[in-house]
Each structure stands twice: as structure tokens, then as C-alpha cells.
């Protein structure tokens, strides 16, 4: 049952992801939290792990959640689920693409999906920001607490480095180093 649920959930995620990078994040976030397969905090940590290991985010996260929920069979079912829609659709489309590409309906669907993905990623980002800065809800945020200030300072430093076009993997390493530094500094105070 859990295997089928993993397969079907990741099949749905594979089927409804359009575009690269974090296009998959909104769906993953909703599904993973709804099934309580991961907490928001674990999801954020895993995005970082995924950025620092090779391979597509989709495969990384399906393997991880699959393993966590149901061991190796879980990993296999979840990963097959996320890969299969692409595989089947590309096999169908690879021969026919030139005919389909300029069809108004196909173009129209893409014209609608591209802006939707931008809006949905913005919404996923908002929930991640809330999970980091207001883990106990907006009403109980204390901007002068150690944890808020620490996150805010690190966020600001990484944001400025990002403007200098530092590579993603380096940004993660720097934020990890800052986290360690702040942790021990606060401990010493």
C-alpha cells in the first residue's frame, strides 16, 4: 500500500512538473507535507543536500523519501514513479514533435503553464521563508531572538554573495561555515 502510494504520488509529481530547476518544488512541498513524509525543516535541509550531490533534484528527492518511508523498495517505487511519465511521454513525442510544436492548443497550454510555474515557485519560496523565520507561526515571531537574528544575518550575507554570482555549491558551503561560526559564537556568549 505504501509502495503504491509512493509510486502514484511521485508519478503525479513527474507528470505535473514543467521546466527545470525548482519547478518541481511547489508540488513536492505540498505532497510531502500532506503525507507527513518529511517536515518543512527536513525538506529544506534536503534541498541543500541535493544541491551538493550530482544528479536531478527529482531523482534525489524521490530516492530519499522512498528510502525513508519504505527502504530500498520504497526508493525504487518512488524513483520509477517520478521518471516514468517523462519516459513514456518523450517516447511518444520524440517522433512527432515537429508536428505538435506549432499547434495552437499545445502552444497555448505552454503559454499558460510557464507563468503558473513562476507564481507557484514564489508561493513555495514563501512557505520555506516562513518555515525558517517563523517556525511557530507568524504571531510568535520574535525578531530579537538569537535564532531569528542568526538566520537573518546569514541570509543577508548569502544574498549579497549571490549578487556577486558565487556558485550555488560555494554558497551552501559558506552558509554552512557561517552556521557553525554563529553556533559556537552564541554558545560562547
Amino acid at each position: 500500500m505504501i509502495l503504491l502510494q509512493l509510486f502514484l504520488t511521485f508519478f503525479k509529481i513527474g507528470l505535473f512538473t514543467f521546466g527545470g530547476g525548482y519547478a518541481m518544488l511547489p508540488l513536492i512541498e505540498k505532497e510531502v507535507i500532506a503525507h507527513s513524509w518529511m517536515t518543512m525543516e527536513e525538506l529544506i535541509d534536503f534541498i541543500a543536500v541535493s544541491e551538493s550531490t550530482p544528479g536531478p533534484f527529482a531523482v534525489n528527492i524521490s530516492t530519499y523519501i522512498g528510502t525513508h518511508t519504505a527502504g530500498l523498495p520504497g526508493a525504487l517505487f518512488a524513483t520509477c514513479g517520478v521518471v516514468l511519465p517523462s519516459f513514456i511521454i518523450i517516447l511518444i513525442v520524440a517522433g512527432l514533435f515537429k508536428k505538435f510544436r506549432d499547434h495552437p492548443a499545445v502552444k497555448g497550454v505552454m503559454n499558460g503553464l510557464k507563468p503558473a510555474v513562476v507564481g507557484l515557485i514564489a508561493s513555495a519560496l514563501l512557505s520555506l521563508v516562513l518555515a525558517v523565520f517563523a517556525p511557530d507561526g507568524l504571531s510568535s515571531v520574535n525578531v530579537f531572538s538569537e535564532s531569528f537574528l542568526r538566520s537573518f544575518v546569514i541570509f543577508l550575507i548569502i544574498f549579497l554573495l549571490n549578487l556577486k554570482k558565487v556558485k550555488p555549491v560555494h554558497l551552501i558551503l559558506i552558509s554552512a561555515a557561517l552556521g557553525i561560526l554563529c553556533g559556537y559564537l552564541l554558545e560562547a556568549l
Binding site: T17, G21, A58, I89, P115
Partner: protein, 184 residues
């Protein structure tokens, strides 16, 4: 033919094992291996591959691997390439998943993750900005992107329904506009 399938598998295994940062980062590596080294596909095929990978559902990397494999050697080519690109991530994450949670209970690692959580927000923000920049800022964009955002934040509506809704609006909008253009 056996040889081509084997080579596709190994090529995509290498691409899966050494490309950080997902789909788009793989494209130059695929070009180097498939177009320049093996000369199985042309540069024009690569452009078609990118267009197909972007306009069909699923992760870019999987789409690209399946497409290239199919074009080079049919079904088994597609199978070998897709398996190749998935296998390294699968193996690495599978092994990592046993140690990750234990690893996180070490104090320095726990501290490192408090930093990483703040830093990762910047990376997602960066991804969002680059998607925004690539988007065509049409009327449709300014209607659908904010609608999708608001629906997702303020209603419990399933993300899949939001996507289907936006796809339908996009389709109706585009078909009507193209009909008008062809009449005038």
C-alpha cells in the same frame, strides 16, 4: 547496435554522476559527448531536444536523456540513457539517507544546517528570478503568475488543479488570439 546502447548507458552514467545543479547544467555536457565526441546527433537535434525537454512534463535531465537515447538507438537507447542518468543519484542518495539523520545530530553539523537553511532560501530566490527573467512578460503572464501565487497561498486548492486551470486559460487565450490574427 548493442555497442551503441552500452555507450549511451555509460555516457549518461557519467553525465548523471558529474553534473551538479540539475537539468540545464547537463546540456553542455550532453552536447560535448553526443554531438562533438560521438557525432550521433547534430546541433539542430540538440535545440530540438531542449525544446522538447522544456515543453513536456518531467525533469529536464530525464526528458533529455530519454530523447537523445531514443533518437540514437530507439527504445533500448532511451531505456539505457534514462537508467544511466538516474543510477548515480539513486545510489548516492540511497547510501546517504542512512547516515544523514545520524550525521545531523553532531553539533557542528546541526549548526551548519542552521546556516544552510537560511542560505538555501537565496538559491531558490535566485532560481525564481532567473525563471522570471526568461518569461515573456505578456498580459497572460501578469494575469496567471499572480493568480497562481494567490491561489496557492490563500486557498487549499491542489497545485495540480492550479496548473490545469492555468493551462486551460492559456490554451483558450492563445487559440482565440491566433484565430483573430488569422482572420485579420
Amino acid at each position: 547496435m548493442q555497442n551503441k546502447t552500452g555507450t549511451l548507458f555509460l555516457t549518461f552514467l557519467k553525465i548523471g554522476a558529474f553534473s551538479f545543479g540539475g537539468g540545464y547544467a547537463m546540456i553542455p555536457v550532453i552536447r560535448e559527448e553526443i554531438v562533438n565526441r560521438h557525432q550521433w546527433l547534430s546541433d539542430e537535434d540538440m535545440l530540438e531536444m531542449i525544446a522538447v525537454a522544456e515543453s513536456t512534463p518531467g525533469p529536464i535531465a530525464i526528458n533529455a536523456a530519454t530523447f537523445v537515447g531514443y533518437r540514437v538507438n530507439g527504445f533500448w537507447g532511451a531505456f539505457a540513457s534514462t537508467l544511466g542518468v538516474v543510477l548515480p543519484s539513486f545510489a548516492i542518495i540511497y547510501l546517504l539517507s542512512f547516515v544523514l539523520e545520524k550525521f545531523k545530530s553532531f553539533k557542528p553539523v546541526a549548526y551548519a544546517f542552521t546556516g544552510i537553511r537560511a542560505g538555501i532560501l537565496v538559491l531558490i530566490f535566485r532560481g525564481l528570478v532567473s525563471m522570471y527573467k526568461q518569461s515573456e512578460k505578456s498580459l497572460l503572464f501578469w494575469i496567471l503568475a499572480p493568480s497562481a501565487f494567490l491561489l496557492s497561498v490563500f486557498t487549499g486548492l491542489n497545485t495540480v488543479w492550479i496548473l490545469i486551470f492555468c493551462a486551460l486559460v492559456g490554451m483558450i487565450f492563445t487559440v482565440i488570439r491566433m484565430n483573430k490574427e488569422s482572420k485579420s
